[in-house]
Symmetry: C2
Amino acid sequence: MVDFFVDGVKVLGLPRSLGEIYGLLFVSTNPLSLDDLVLYLGISKGSASQGLRTLRTLGAVREASGNDDRRTYYEPAVDLKRLVGGFIREQVRPHLDSGKTKLQTIAETAKLCDDPLEREFFTDRIERLESWMKRGGQMLPILQKLLGQ
Amino acid sequence: MVDFFVDGVKVLGLPRSLGEIYGLLFVSTNPLSLDDLVLYLGISKGSASQGLRTLRTLGAVREASGNDDRRTYYEPAVDLKRLVGGFIREQVRPHLDSGKTKLQTIAETAKLCDDPLEREFFTDRIERLESWMKRGGQMLPILQKLLGQ
DNA sequence: TCTTGCGTTCAAAATAACTTGAACTGCTTT
DNA sequence: AAAGCAGTTCAAGTTATTTTGAACGCAAGA
Protein backbone atom coordinates (compact mmCIF):
# COMPACT_ATOMS: atom_id res chain seq x y z
CA MET A 1 0.00 0.00 0.00
CA VAL A 2 2.81 2.34 0.87
CA ASP A 3 4.29 1.32 -2.49
CA PHE A 4 1.16 2.54 -4.17
CA PHE A 5 1.77 6.04 -2.85
CA VAL A 6 5.47 5.90 -3.56
CA ASP A 7 4.65 5.37 -7.21
CA GLY A 8 2.01 8.06 -6.98
CA VAL A 9 4.31 10.78 -5.72
CA LYS A 10 7.03 9.77 -8.15
CA VAL A 11 4.68 10.52 -11.01
CA LEU A 12 4.24 13.96 -9.52
CA GLY A 13 8.00 14.40 -9.31
CA LEU A 14 8.19 14.24 -5.53
CA PRO A 15 10.70 12.16 -3.56
CA ARG A 16 9.90 8.64 -2.52
CA SER A 17 9.98 9.40 1.21
CA LEU A 18 6.95 11.65 0.82
CA GLY A 19 5.03 8.73 -0.62
CA GLU A 20 6.15 6.43 2.14
CA ILE A 21 5.18 8.85 4.86
CA TYR A 22 1.85 9.82 3.40
CA GLY A 23 1.07 6.21 2.54
CA LEU A 24 1.73 5.02 6.07
CA LEU A 25 -0.38 7.79 7.57
CA PHE A 26 -3.12 6.97 5.07
CA VAL A 27 -3.42 3.34 6.15
CA SER A 28 -2.91 4.06 9.80
CA THR A 29 -5.98 3.97 12.02
CA ASN A 30 -4.46 6.53 14.38
CA PRO A 31 -2.13 9.51 14.05
CA LEU A 32 1.60 8.83 14.07
CA SER A 33 4.59 10.71 15.42
CA LEU A 34 7.88 11.38 13.71
CA ASP A 35 9.44 8.54 15.67
CA ASP A 36 6.73 6.17 14.52
CA LEU A 37 7.59 6.97 10.92
CA VAL A 38 11.30 6.40 11.57
CA LEU A 39 10.50 3.11 13.27
CA TYR A 40 7.99 1.67 10.81
CA LEU A 41 9.51 2.92 7.57
CA GLY A 42 13.13 2.49 8.53
CA ILE A 43 14.01 5.99 7.34
CA SER A 44 16.17 8.54 9.12
CA LYS A 45 14.90 11.22 11.42
CA GLY A 46 16.11 13.81 8.93
CA SER A 47 14.07 12.34 6.10
CA ALA A 48 10.99 12.06 8.25
CA SER A 49 11.32 15.63 9.44
CA GLN A 50 11.83 17.07 5.98
CA GLY A 51 9.16 14.86 4.48
CA LEU A 52 6.63 15.95 7.06
CA ARG A 53 7.44 19.58 6.47
CA THR A 54 6.88 19.27 2.72
CA LEU A 55 3.66 17.38 3.28
CA ARG A 56 2.48 20.08 5.65
CA THR A 57 3.19 22.88 3.20
CA LEU A 58 1.35 20.86 0.58
CA GLY A 59 -1.54 20.61 2.99
CA ALA A 60 -1.37 16.84 2.74
CA VAL A 61 -0.94 16.20 6.45
CA ARG A 62 -1.98 18.07 9.56
CA GLU A 63 -1.15 17.85 13.22
CA ALA A 64 -3.58 15.69 15.11
CA SER A 65 -5.25 17.49 17.97
CA GLY A 66 -5.74 16.32 21.51
CA ASN A 67 -2.80 14.24 22.59
CA ASP A 68 -1.36 14.55 26.05
CA ASP A 69 2.09 13.66 24.78
CA ARG A 70 4.91 16.12 24.27
CA ARG A 71 5.56 14.99 20.72
CA THR A 72 3.27 15.89 17.85
CA TYR A 73 1.21 13.40 15.91
CA TYR A 74 0.18 13.65 12.30
CA GLU A 75 -2.80 12.52 10.27
CA PRO A 76 -3.33 12.66 6.49
CA ALA A 77 -5.64 14.98 4.64
CA VAL A 78 -7.90 12.67 2.73
CA ASP A 79 -9.97 14.91 0.54
CA LEU A 80 -8.83 15.17 -3.01
CA LYS A 81 -9.72 18.82 -3.41
CA ARG A 82 -7.36 19.85 -0.69
CA LEU A 83 -4.55 17.65 -1.99
CA VAL A 84 -4.87 18.87 -5.54
CA GLY A 85 -5.15 22.44 -4.35
CA GLY A 86 -1.95 22.18 -2.36
CA PHE A 87 -0.07 20.60 -5.22
CA ILE A 88 -1.18 23.27 -7.63
CA ARG A 89 -0.36 26.07 -5.24
CA GLU A 90 3.08 24.78 -4.30
CA GLN A 91 4.28 23.01 -7.42
CA VAL A 92 2.39 24.17 -10.47
CA ARG A 93 1.69 27.88 -9.96
CA PRO A 94 5.29 28.85 -9.20
CA HIS A 95 6.46 27.29 -12.44
CA LEU A 96 3.69 28.88 -14.45
CA ASP A 97 4.51 32.25 -12.98
CA SER A 98 8.25 32.03 -13.57
CA GLY A 99 7.46 30.83 -17.08
CA LYS A 100 5.41 33.91 -17.78
CA THR A 101 8.21 36.13 -16.55
CA LYS A 102 10.76 34.42 -18.75
CA LEU A 103 8.48 34.68 -21.71
CA GLN A 104 8.27 38.44 -21.29
CA THR A 105 12.04 38.66 -21.35
CA ILE A 106 12.14 36.56 -24.47
CA ALA A 107 9.54 38.73 -26.11
CA GLU A 108 11.68 41.82 -25.47
CA THR A 109 14.66 40.13 -27.06
CA ALA A 110 12.69 39.08 -30.11
CA LYS A 111 11.77 42.70 -30.83
CA LEU A 112 15.45 43.45 -31.40
CA CYS A 113 15.66 40.99 -34.27
CA ASP A 114 16.80 42.70 -37.49
CA ASP A 115 15.31 40.55 -40.21
CA PRO A 116 11.59 41.44 -40.26
CA LEU A 117 10.57 38.02 -41.56
CA GLU A 118 12.39 36.25 -38.78
CA ARG A 119 11.01 38.70 -36.27
CA GLU A 120 7.51 37.90 -37.35
CA PHE A 121 8.19 34.20 -37.03
CA PHE A 122 9.53 34.63 -33.51
CA THR A 123 6.72 36.81 -32.29
CA ASP A 124 4.28 34.29 -33.71
CA ARG A 125 5.93 31.49 -31.76
CA ILE A 126 6.01 33.58 -28.61
CA GLU A 127 2.36 34.42 -28.92
CA ARG A 128 1.63 30.76 -29.20
CA LEU A 129 3.49 30.07 -26.00
CA GLU A 130 1.67 32.88 -24.28
CA SER A 131 -1.63 31.37 -25.27
CA TRP A 132 -0.50 27.99 -23.93
CA MET A 133 0.39 29.46 -20.58
CA LYS A 134 -2.83 31.40 -20.43
CA ARG A 135 -4.84 28.29 -21.07
CA GLY A 136 -2.87 26.42 -18.47
CA GLY A 137 -3.63 29.12 -15.96
CA GLN A 138 -7.32 29.03 -16.78
CA MET A 139 -7.32 25.27 -16.55
CA LEU A 140 -6.19 25.02 -12.95
CA PRO A 141 -9.24 26.42 -11.18
CA ILE A 142 -11.49 24.33 -13.39
CA LEU A 143 -9.51 21.22 -12.59
CA GLN A 144 -9.70 21.98 -8.90
CA LYS A 145 -13.40 22.59 -9.05
CA LEU A 146 -14.17 19.42 -10.99
CA LEU A 147 -12.07 17.26 -8.70
CA GLY A 148 -13.39 18.74 -5.49
CA GLN A 149 -16.65 16.84 -5.22
CA MET B 1 14.30 30.26 -25.29
CA VAL B 2 15.61 26.73 -25.22
CA ASP B 3 15.94 27.22 -21.47
CA PHE B 4 12.27 27.98 -21.31
CA PHE B 5 11.47 24.52 -22.65
CA VAL B 6 14.10 22.84 -20.53
CA ASP B 7 12.30 24.14 -17.47
CA GLY B 8 9.01 23.17 -19.01
CA VAL B 9 9.86 19.54 -19.55
CA LYS B 10 11.50 19.30 -16.14
CA VAL B 11 8.20 20.18 -14.55
CA LEU B 12 6.68 17.30 -16.47
CA GLY B 13 9.40 14.97 -15.24
CA LEU B 14 11.12 14.59 -18.60
CA PRO B 15 14.89 14.86 -19.15
CA ARG B 16 16.51 18.13 -20.03
CA SER B 17 17.65 17.00 -23.48
CA LEU B 18 14.01 16.68 -24.56
CA GLY B 19 13.47 20.29 -23.70
CA GLU B 20 16.60 21.37 -25.52
CA ILE B 21 15.68 19.49 -28.65
CA TYR B 22 12.07 20.53 -28.74
CA GLY B 23 12.98 24.10 -27.86
CA LEU B 24 15.47 24.36 -30.69
CA LEU B 25 13.04 22.91 -33.19
CA PHE B 26 10.38 25.29 -31.90
CA VAL B 27 12.42 28.41 -32.60
CA SER B 28 13.88 27.11 -35.81
CA THR B 29 12.44 28.49 -39.03
CA ASN B 30 13.22 25.28 -40.89
CA PRO B 31 13.35 21.57 -39.98
CA LEU B 32 16.56 20.25 -38.45
CA SER B 33 18.42 16.95 -38.71
CA LEU B 34 19.92 14.91 -35.93
CA ASP B 35 23.34 16.29 -36.78
CA ASP B 36 22.04 19.84 -36.55
CA LEU B 37 20.88 19.14 -33.00
CA VAL B 38 24.25 17.67 -32.09
CA LEU B 39 25.98 20.68 -33.59
CA TYR B 40 23.84 23.48 -32.18
CA LEU B 41 23.08 22.01 -28.77
CA GLY B 42 26.45 20.40 -28.14
CA ILE B 43 24.87 17.11 -27.10
CA SER B 44 25.92 13.64 -28.15
CA LYS B 45 24.46 11.72 -31.05
CA GLY B 46 23.11 9.21 -28.57
CA SER B 47 21.18 11.81 -26.64
CA ALA B 48 19.82 13.38 -29.78
CA SER B 49 18.71 10.02 -31.12
CA GLN B 50 16.99 8.96 -27.93
CA GLY B 51 15.50 12.37 -27.37
CA LEU B 52 14.04 12.44 -30.85
CA ARG B 53 12.57 8.99 -30.38
CA THR B 54 10.84 9.99 -27.17
CA LEU B 55 9.55 13.18 -28.73
CA ARG B 56 8.22 11.18 -31.67
CA THR B 57 6.36 8.71 -29.46
CA LEU B 58 4.96 11.69 -27.58
CA GLY B 59 3.82 13.08 -30.89
CA ALA B 60 5.77 16.26 -30.17
CA VAL B 61 7.88 16.16 -33.32
CA ARG B 62 7.33 14.73 -36.77
CA GLU B 63 9.53 14.06 -39.76
CA ALA B 64 9.50 16.93 -42.21
CA SER B 65 8.45 15.91 -45.66
CA GLY B 66 10.05 16.77 -48.95
CA ASN B 67 13.79 16.89 -48.57
CA ASP B 68 16.09 15.48 -51.16
CA ASP B 69 18.69 14.62 -48.58
CA ARG B 70 19.39 11.15 -47.26
CA ARG B 71 19.06 12.21 -43.66
CA THR B 72 15.73 12.93 -42.02
CA TYR B 73 14.67 16.34 -40.79
CA TYR B 74 12.33 17.08 -37.92
CA GLU B 75 9.82 19.77 -37.12
CA PRO B 76 7.87 20.38 -33.91
CA ALA B 77 4.19 19.77 -33.40
CA VAL B 78 2.88 23.13 -32.30
CA ASP B 79 -0.71 22.51 -31.38
CA LEU B 80 -1.37 22.12 -27.72
CA LYS B 81 -4.07 19.52 -28.09
CA ARG B 82 -1.71 17.11 -29.76
CA LEU B 83 1.05 17.71 -27.23
CA VAL B 84 -1.22 17.25 -24.25
CA GLY B 85 -2.79 14.20 -25.85
CA GLY B 86 0.59 12.57 -26.37
CA PHE B 87 1.70 13.30 -22.87
CA ILE B 88 -1.44 11.85 -21.38
CA ARG B 89 -1.31 8.77 -23.57
CA GLU B 90 2.36 8.01 -22.90
CA GLN B 91 2.95 9.28 -19.40
CA VAL B 92 -0.29 9.60 -17.51
CA ARG B 93 -2.51 6.73 -18.65
CA PRO B 94 0.06 4.00 -18.05
CA HIS B 95 0.50 5.10 -14.46
CA LEU B 96 -3.22 5.38 -13.89
CA ASP B 97 -3.74 1.90 -15.29
CA SER B 98 -0.98 0.27 -13.27
CA GLY B 99 -2.33 2.08 -10.24
CA LYS B 100 -5.75 0.57 -10.75
CA THR B 101 -4.26 -2.89 -11.02
CA LYS B 102 -2.28 -2.49 -7.83
CA LEU B 103 -5.33 -1.22 -6.06
CA GLN B 104 -7.23 -4.36 -6.95
CA THR B 105 -4.48 -6.48 -5.44
CA ILE B 106 -4.55 -4.39 -2.31
CA ALA B 107 -8.31 -4.73 -2.09
CA GLU B 108 -7.99 -8.52 -2.18
CA THR B 109 -5.46 -8.42 0.61
CA ALA B 110 -7.64 -6.20 2.75
CA LYS B 111 -10.46 -8.73 2.66
CA LEU B 112 -8.24 -11.17 4.52
CA CYS B 113 -7.96 -8.87 7.50
CA ASP B 114 -9.21 -10.55 10.70
CA ASP B 115 -10.35 -7.66 12.83
CA PRO B 116 -13.67 -6.51 11.33
CA LEU B 117 -13.22 -2.94 12.49
CA GLU B 118 -9.82 -2.67 10.87
CA ARG B 119 -11.15 -4.33 7.75
CA GLU B 120 -13.86 -1.75 7.46
CA PHE B 121 -11.33 1.03 7.85
CA PHE B 122 -9.12 -0.41 5.13
CA THR B 123 -11.91 -0.98 2.64
CA ASP B 124 -13.05 2.57 3.28
CA ARG B 125 -9.61 3.91 2.49
CA ILE B 126 -9.36 1.74 -0.60
CA GLU B 127 -12.72 2.92 -1.86
CA ARG B 128 -11.51 6.44 -1.45
CA LEU B 129 -8.47 5.73 -3.57
CA GLU B 130 -10.63 4.07 -6.19
CA SER B 131 -12.78 7.15 -6.39
CA TRP B 132 -9.67 9.31 -6.79
CA MET B 133 -8.43 7.23 -9.67
CA LYS B 134 -11.82 7.20 -11.28
CA ARG B 135 -12.05 10.96 -11.12
CA GLY B 136 -8.58 11.25 -12.53
CA GLY B 137 -9.55 9.05 -15.42
CA GLN B 138 -12.66 11.10 -16.11
CA MET B 139 -10.62 14.27 -15.89
CA LEU B 140 -8.25 13.50 -18.72
CA PRO B 141 -10.62 13.66 -21.69
CA ILE B 142 -12.14 16.85 -20.31
CA LEU B 143 -8.71 18.38 -19.92
CA GLN B 144 -7.81 17.43 -23.45
CA LYS B 145 -11.01 18.82 -24.81
CA LEU B 146 -10.74 22.12 -23.01
CA LEU B 147 -7.14 22.63 -24.01
CA GLY B 148 -7.64 21.68 -27.63
CA GLN B 149 -9.02 24.94 -28.91
C1' DT C 1 20.08 25.87 36.62
C1' DC C 2 20.94 21.61 34.57
C1' DT C 3 19.28 17.72 32.18
C1' DT C 4 16.42 15.32 28.94
C1' DG C 5 14.25 14.65 24.72
C1' DC C 6 11.70 16.27 20.40
C1' DG C 7 12.50 18.09 16.21
C1' DT C 8 15.47 20.72 12.69
C1' DT C 9 19.49 21.56 9.84
C1' DC C 10 22.97 20.73 6.51
C1' DA C 11 27.31 18.74 4.72
C1' DA C 12 28.57 14.39 3.19
C1' DA C 13 27.28 9.78 1.47
C1' DA C 14 24.25 7.04 -1.23
C1' DT C 15 21.24 6.50 -4.87
C1' DA C 16 18.84 7.48 -9.04
C1' DA C 17 18.67 9.65 -13.52
C1' DC C 18 20.79 11.30 -17.60
C1' DT C 19 24.39 11.62 -21.05
C1' DT C 20 28.16 10.02 -23.51
C1' DG C 21 30.74 7.55 -27.04
C1' DA C 22 32.27 3.54 -29.27
C1' DA C 23 30.54 -0.43 -31.51
C1' DC C 24 26.94 -1.88 -34.41
C1' DT C 25 22.96 -2.29 -38.05
C1' DG C 26 21.31 -1.44 -42.33
C1' DC C 27 21.05 1.26 -46.33
C1' DT C 28 23.56 3.71 -50.46
C1' DT C 29 26.92 4.80 -53.36
C1' DT C 30 31.03 3.60 -56.04
C1' DA D 1 31.70 -6.15 -52.85
C1' DA D 2 33.69 -2.62 -50.35
C1' DA D 3 33.48 1.77 -48.35
C1' DG D 4 30.76 5.47 -46.48
C1' DC D 5 27.12 7.48 -44.03
C1' DA D 6 22.70 8.02 -41.00
C1' DG D 7 20.99 6.54 -37.10
C1' DT D 8 20.57 3.17 -32.95
C1' DT D 9 22.04 0.77 -28.82
C1' DC D 10 23.77 0.15 -24.31
C1' DA D 11 27.49 -0.17 -20.78
C1' DA D 12 30.13 3.07 -18.45
C1' DG D 13 30.73 7.75 -16.88
C1' DT D 14 28.75 11.90 -15.24
C1' DT D 15 25.51 14.75 -13.03
C1' DA D 16 21.55 15.65 -10.15
C1' DT D 17 18.65 14.34 -6.45
C1' DT D 18 17.63 12.22 -2.19
C1' DT D 19 18.86 10.28 2.18
C1' DT D 20 21.57 9.99 6.13
C1' DG D 21 23.36 11.12 10.67
C1' DA D 22 25.70 13.94 13.81
C1' DA D 23 25.45 18.49 15.75
C1' DC D 24 22.41 21.95 17.12
C1' DG D 25 18.34 24.79 19.16
C1' DC D 26 14.65 24.99 21.96
C1' DA D 27 11.27 24.00 25.39
C1' DA D 28 9.80 21.22 29.45
C1' DG D 29 10.78 18.79 33.64
C1' DA D 30 13.85 17.92 37.62
